[in-house]
Amino acid sequence: MTASNGRWWRRTRDSWKPSRLVSSCPLCHTDIVSKQESSAEVDNVRQRLIEAEEEYQRARTDDYVTRLLRDSAIVDAHRAGLSSREISTLVGDIGQPNVVRARRRAVTRREVFPAGLLSPADAVRESGLGPREFIHAVREGRLIAVELPGGVRAFRVKDVRRTRNAS
């Protein structure tokens, strides 16, 4: 699926409202939450994964964007410490080996950035600079981009914050 076929662009804002865990995910909520004394951050990541899975199930497997978002949520869940087994339980049609594959797919995809790095758009937001000032900061070497595999440019959070403080 691509944006050009119009599916996502026909969506209204109201059609993208993730439902809450308790109301629509009978598969996993009470068991998982009670077994794990998770931090708020882990709970938050788990919730995002569940919501991404719900949206994915609504749109089905041919929908590229929902798959992309779910893969990203799987990566976040891994980073937050959820096991492949738990993730496999949360996402309905994916076994543990496929969880690992989805994680690999997501971390190597152009738009998913490793922890501690920001996409150009998020780096602009974090910097507090306008796009024009940010572009000039990069071109003049005051802010150094990190080259990721595939020619992707990303920015270290600490570098962006230093630029923010210096401006």
Binding site: W8, R13, W16, T66, E111, S119, P131
Partner: protein, 60 residues
């Protein structure tokens, strides 16, 4: 390439204005819960910024 199919070029200032507008729309969408379209707009912004960083535009 025919004369009518030449590349469209923007100055850095024009690119910055386009990026600013797209990011504002993306932020509005995100705040209203439309994360998917906000995400797609961010992908476009990333591409534009990549071009701007690399000096592919006319400068300006």
């Amino acid at each position: 390439m025919s004369p009518g199919e030449g590349p469209v070029r923007f100055t850095l200032d024009e690119m910055a204005v386009i990026v600013e507008d797209l990011m504002r729309i993306a932020d509005d969408l995100k705040s209203s819960g439309d994360e998917v379209n906000a995400y797609l707009l961010d992908l476009v912004v990333n591409r534009l910024l990549d071009r701007a960083f690399g000096g592919d535009s006319d400068g300006g």
